[in-house]
């Protein structure tokens, strides 16, 4: 279809104006509503999820509280974070002080901060007879406190039955203050 140049220019002007008008109308009228819709939809989904979680928690309330009452003494601690770390190092000191091991270093690692609890971590390097090292492990694993050896590295030494070890030990403690907000 051939279109006369003047008519073509006129059509182009109308088309451009229509496109610009549509863009303008879209950005000023429709787009804000679309953005609001997106935000509201996301809020709606979150609220629905929250409600399901809340209802689920309420259903489990009795069972969880019963189980929690049993472990509560293990996790509840006194004092602030520094005091808790200090308590943790003292606890480890009590364990290895009775053994024939030489502590080469004790390194306090950053605290892993979770929503409702925290995980304290310490790396200890020690040397000594393997018998004492195994005793140390046994004592840690049998301890009533929620402590756990997460990693260790053991290297035998020149002297018979002497080993050098590096241990990564963690402890779960309750937070000083309960966080507000998220379920």
């Amino acid at each position: 279809m051939s279109v006369a140049p003047k008519k073509r220019e006129k059509l182009l002007v109308i088309f451009t104006a229509a496109v610009l008008g549509s863009i303008l109308l879209f950005t000023t009228i429709i787009d804000p509503q679309l953005k609001k819709h997106k935000a509201l939809s996301s809020k709606f989904s979150q609220l629905k999820l929250d409600l399901t979680k809340v209802r689920g928690n309420l259903l489990m309330k009795d069972r969880i509280e019963k189980a929690y009452s049993q472990i509560e003494p293990l996790i509840t601690t006194q004092g602030n974070q520094q005091q808790q770390i200090s308590d943790f190092t003292r606890l480890l000191d009590q364990i290895y002080s009775k053994l024939n091991v030489k502590i080469r270093s004790v390194k306090i690692l950053p605290v892993a901060d979770e929503n409702y609890y925290q995980k304290l971590s310490i790396r200890i390097e020690m040397t000594g007879p393997i018998k004492d090292f195994l005793k140390f492990i046994e004592n840690v694993e049998q301890h009533q406190e929620p402590i756990r050896i997460e990693q260790f590295e053991l290297t035998s030494q020149e002297t018979a039955d002497t080993v050098m070890t590096s241990l990564f030990i963690s402890k779960i403690t309750s937070k000083e203050n309960k966080p507000a907000g998220k379920i």
């Binding site: 969880i64 929503n115 609890y117 990693q151 779960i172 507000a180 998220k182």
Partner: protein, 457 residues
């Protein structure tokens, strides 16, 4: 009887006695123009566009040959050509044209010319009854359109239209009405005029002076149609009887018009038929100014309608989103209201649940390391010594990597077999073994690894 029809085109023919014949999807008779105006006003009849017809005697007709390739070009040329054919200035005239024939580069057109004043009088009369016609045609063209089917312009035909008062004869050759005669039947009956009519038709046929066969089309009421056809059986080989349009009164149930308004009915129906003929697109005596103005008005009307529709669509879309957002917001508020009173209990339960899970994970697989050492002592062969060992636990899995020495390669590779009975280390794999020469012999150094899935708590 009411005719509520909504066709695109409607036609009007005002009769000499002041009554109106309108054609919508059928021919409707109105006693007078006021009755018609009332029906239009009450929307008892409706047409998007109206087309009217004026008598031929109001127009001047000219046949002009123009060096045009088509009718569009010819129509544009007429603006400059017409002044040489007429003593009147072109501004005082409106004109329309239709093609007749082509002779090499010349296009022969039939031009109908009307004085602007005459047109204005007609339009003013119609305007007073609320009608703005989109087209103005002439009676003969409308009647010719009614008679024509799809015959070519090079044919010759004589069309006879029998009224109760007269007989109208159209002689058409090469698509042009060559002659239009009116044979009066007043004060006499049809049978008495038989000889005269036959003679007139024969003369007309002779005047057409064509070597082609002449078609005789007869439009007459049913009671006389067959009789008239028999008059011409000897003279014409090709006779076509045509059925007249049925005229219905708008106000009365009875439709007995006693043969009256046959010509007007034919014209009214022919007008609507002529709209479909592309050759007649420039035969509109409304005048360029009026047509242009009408087009502009239509364009503005369409633009406004499109704009309003676009705004309405956008508004609807916007409203849709607003309502949708309002609805979601309302539901959100409802959910928040439902959550609020139980939220603190849920947070407390969630906190305890999380701590419980953390403690369970922390206390799981206790004594695993002691057990690993115990099994290493129990199952490792005497000729295997371990120089390095690492342990790592993550979630519910733990891995052990061992570096050790054996006296031979086979002893090293048999190490995994030796550990088969171990409960924890039964999946130990040798991943590397290397024989290293030493003073007085050699030693094999190997690396082994074992992954354990935690299952005890």
């Amino acid at each position: 009887m009411r005719y509520i029809k909504k066709p695109k085109w409607g036609s009007i023919k005002i009769t000499s006695c002041g009554s109106v014949i309108a054609y919508l999807s059928s021919c409707i008779y109105f006693e007078n123009i006021d009755r018609f105006a009332d029906a239009v006003k009450r929307k008892q009849i409706y047409a998007k566009h109206w087309i009217i017809s004026i008598p031929d005697n109001l127009c001047i007709t000219k046949i002009i040959e123009l060096p045009a390739s088509d009718i569009d070009q010819a129509y544009k040329m007429l603006e400059f050509e017409l002044s040489s054919y007429l003593p009147l200035p072109i501004e005082e005239l409106v004109y329309g044209c239709m093609p007749i024939s082509r002779n090499e580069n010349l296009l022969k057109v039939l031009v109908y010319i009307l004085k602007v004043k005459a047109l204005e009088d007609i339009l003013a009369k119609l305007k007073s009854i609320g009608i703005k016609p989109s087209r103005v045609m002439v009676d003969s063209v409308a009647a010719k359109s009614w008679f024509s089917n799809d015959e070519k312009n090079d044919s010759a035909q004589i069309n006879l239209l029998f009224n109760n008062k007269n007989t109208i004869v159209f002689a058409i050759k090469d698509g042009i009405v060559q002659r239009q005669d009116d044979i009066s039947l007043e004060n006499t009956d049809l049978e008495n005029q038989r000889e005269y009519i036959i003679e007139q038709i024969n003369n007309t046929a002779t005047e057409l002076a064509t070597d082609k066969q002449i078609t005789l089309k007869i439009a007459a009421s049913q009671n006389i149609g067959e009789k008239i056809k028999s008059w011409f059986n000897g003279n014409f080989n090709n006779i076509e009887p045509l059925e007249l349009p049925q005229l219905n009164s708008f106000d009365k149930e009875s439709n007995s018009f006693n043969g009256k308004f046959i010509f007007e009915s034919v014209v009214a129906q022919g007008l609507v038929k002529s709209v479909e003929n592309p050759e007649l697109k420039y035969l509109n005596l409304l005048g360029q100014k009026v047509i242009k103005k009408a087009h502009q008005k239509q364009f503005i009307k369409n633009s406004v309608a499109t704009f309003v529709l676009a705004i309405f669509t956008i508004f609807s879309l916007w409203l849709n989103f607003v309502v949708m957002n309002w609805r979601i917001d309302y539901v959100c508020h409802k959910l928040a209201k439902e959550i609020a009173p139980i939220k603190h209990i849920a947070i407390d339960v969630e906190s305890k649940h999380q701590k419980l899970k953390a403690i369970e994970a922390q206390l799981s697989n206790r004594k695993q390391i002691s057990e690993i050492f115990s099994q290493l002592y129990k199952y490792s062969p005497k000729n295997i010594s371990i120089s390095q060992m690492s342990y790592s636990s993550k979630a519910d899995a733990a891995s052990v990597n061992i570096k050790g020495q054996a006296d031979t390669l086979s002893s090293a590779f048999e190490y995994s077999n030796a550990m088969k009975n171990s409960e924890l280390l039964n999946s130990i794999q040798i991943i590397n073994a290397q024989q290293i020469p030493k003073p007085g012999g050699s030693i094999v150094e190997f690396k082994a690894e074992c992954t354990m899935k935690g299952n005890s708590k």
